[in-house]
Each structure stands twice: as C-alpha cells, then as structure tokens.
Symmetry: C2
C-alpha cells in the first residue's frame, strides 16, 4: 500500500504519517475516540530529535479544545526545542489488559493509544495562567481556585506549549484472543487479564487545615475503596 493512500477501514487518516499501518482495522480517526484517550491521560511521551539524536520524554499533558498542552521549566531542553518549532511525535498509551491466547503467537494486549504529529506552539504570556488553571482542573476539578496562584516569577519561569490535534490518530484493541480455529479445543486457559490505572487511598501531607477534604479527594478515596 502506498504511503500516499491514507484511507482506512475506520475513516480517513489526516496525513500519510498518521495512517495506522500495522493492523489497520485498529486505527481510528474521529475526534470522539481521540479526545476520550487524551482526556483519560495524565501524561504523554514526547519524541523529538536534536543534535544528539532522538529522545522520548514523559511529561504531564492536558487537552483544551483541539490542542494538547504540556508545560515545564524554561530550562528544559525538550521545551526549548519544542518552542523553536521542532517536529514532534506525542504518544499516549493506556494499557487495558493482557490477552492470553491458546497459541504463543496470538498473545496480545488491549490498549487505547493516540499519536499526534506536528510542532508545538508557544502559549503567549497573557494566556499562560488560564492554561495552567485548566491543567490543575484536569488533575483536580476546582483546585485552581483553592491554591495559591502562580506569581509573576513562577509564571515567567514556566513555558506552556500546545500541539494542534490536526495530525492525530488513535489505535485501539479490545476484546478476547483471536485464536486459530484449530487451537480452540486446546486445554489451556484463554482470555483477558484486565488492567486499569486505579486510585489508591489519598495520602494527606500532614494534618489538613479545616476539617473538609475537597470533593475530588473524597471522590478519589471512594474510588480507591472499591
């Protein structure tokens, strides 16, 4: 298949480099699936190249509209390069389970992943505080209005970047093993061992002032107690 052909069984890839090639039926190009994968993520892996070669750096991320945001210290190599418009590939992967087939060959994993190609844009100084508020609200809704806001020096020391989601693709595998017909009678356990990134009990830093934990902490504790 030519690299120019971006058609797929699940819609059209936005560019040749976003077309899912390996097992094309797992590729998805619609916004809903992409947004769901990004919004479930706390971190992404950013790949970029400099004069030392290729790097792959994990960093926190959040989505607003049709952009994925990252931030960090002005001193970060990655942020400096990205701010200069370097081409990047940003990948987010949620591992949902181990797929145990009846033959060694058909073992697999269930996952939801997203890849975004492009170049980051620098978020302007007067938009930085609002973008960082959105990040805090992604982590813990309402928290941006509870904590001490960034002061002038803290904001000046922070770079916020955003990557347009124009050139993005999702890849998803769900369900049980796809065994060969001839193996279905084998006396071996087959199925999925599911995995999920799960909240554990909150760990307060010393005695919290006042007596009420915010909603997002009590909700976290509830989910941890399941």
């Amino acid at each position: 298949m030519s690299d120019i052909d971006t058609a797929s069984v699940n819609g059209k890839a936005p560019s040749p480099r976003t077309r899912v090639r390996r097992i094309a039926e797992r590729g998805h190009y619609d916004r809903d699936k992409l947004y769901a994968i990004l919004d479930a993520a706390y971190l992404c892996h950013v790949a970029f190249a400099d004069e030392h070669g290729v790097h792959c750096i994990p960093t926190a991320c959040w989505r607003e509209g049709d952009h994925l945001y990252i931030h960090g210290s002005n001193g970060s190599r990655m942020l400096r390069l990205a701010a200069e418009g370097a081409q990047v590939c940003v990948t987010i992967t949620h591992l949902d389970g181990l797929v145990l087939a009846r033959s060694a060959f058909h073992h697999s994993m269930n996952y939801r992943s997203a890849m975004i190609y492009g170049a980051f844009e620098v978020v302007a100084a007067d938009r930085k505080a609002a973008a960082l508020d959105a990040f805090l609200d992604h982590i813990a809704r309402g928290r941006a209005h509870e904590v001490r806001a960034g002061d002038r020096n803290e904001l000046a020391a922070t770079t916020v970047l955003r990557l347009p989601l124009d050139e993005a693709a999702a890849k998803i595998r769900t369900g049980g093993p796809k065994d060969d017909e001839a193996d279905l009678g084998r006396a071996v356990w087959a199925g999925v061992l599911p995995l999920a990134l799960t909240p554990l009990a909150p760990e307060p830093d010393g005695t919290p002032p006042g007596d009420a934990a915010p909603d997002y902490v009590t909700a976290w504790a509830r989910r941890a107690g399941r």
Copy 2:
C-alpha cells in the same frame, strides 16, 4: 553545566545523553533501580526517526539480563528500521500519583521512569523461540509450556530485537509536595493522590477446558479482589 559532565548526585551517568538534567537529584544510574522499573513494565515507548520525521510507538517489552527485548511482525516499519541499527530512545514510565501542593507552581507527579539510548540488535533465528518463551513467562509465569508453541511460519514472521542496557538512566520522584515555607499555613488540602496499574477480574474466553485455572490467573483474580 557542560554536556560532557556526566556526574550526578546519584552516581555517574553512562554517557552525556543519559545524564538527567532537569532536577538532577531524581536521576539514578544503578542497575537495581533500572531493572525494577523495566521488570514492572508490560510496555515501552520506542522513539526513532526515518525520512518522515520522528516517531514514538508503544510496544510490549521484557528484560533478560542486560537487554530490553521487543518483538513484532517482520512487516513493522519500526522493527525494520530498528533491525537496521537505527538509533533509538526507549522510555518506560510508571505513574505513581498526583502530587497536590499548596501553590499551583509546586504541583507534581510521582513516577518511576527509565530511558535507554542505543541501537537494537536482531535476535538470531535459533534464539528467537527461547526469547519469546521468556516474554510469555514475563506476562504469565509458566505459560510458555502450556500454549501451542510458535510453528516455523509464525517464528519466521516474527522479528525479535534486543537493546543493550549500557546507556540507560532512571528518574524517580516519590513523596509529598515540596511547598514553599510561606505557603505551609494555607487552608488547602495538600498531599498525594496515588495511582497504580491494577489487575481487574480475569475474563475467560468462553468456558475454559478442565476445571483448574493456572496459578497466574488465580493470583491475578486474588489481586483484583483486594
């Protein structure tokens, strides 16, 4: 600090590109910490460059001795390039929690990450079956001897690659928020919201033959039931 200076507070980085630059005290260069991070992982992100630019692809991984292994179809772009000796950066990240500080600026995440630089080596045909057995045993100990082994065609269609761990570094953050002294009295909840990749109840594919699930499935179910 010069790029040539690979010294760090936690030992010596094996090369300039593996020296942790941002928050150097989180960098670790000893084998035990590196192995623990790799052995807890089911997948890694592989960054590499080709004529279309930089890519970042998630794939299953396992460690044997002083190598990280990956595998896949001979048809995979990534595996073909990696097999040709392309320089890569492989990153593994475990997210352990959200760190909620009293100021917006000091929010952070707890994590254990590892980065490995280098070039993959092709595992020879007569070593492939043993390497893939080790992969299955990483996923589910003992399973390699229960399932139908790969036949000649399946093994021939599979590329197995390994990356030496010579040029690797770990980066780890643990513990609560590091707030400014002046913020400690603020009336805001601070602490860690921990996260862990957690087993959920096994999902058998139809009625398993026989009546005994293997040990790794019953152990998984037990961990899921906590």
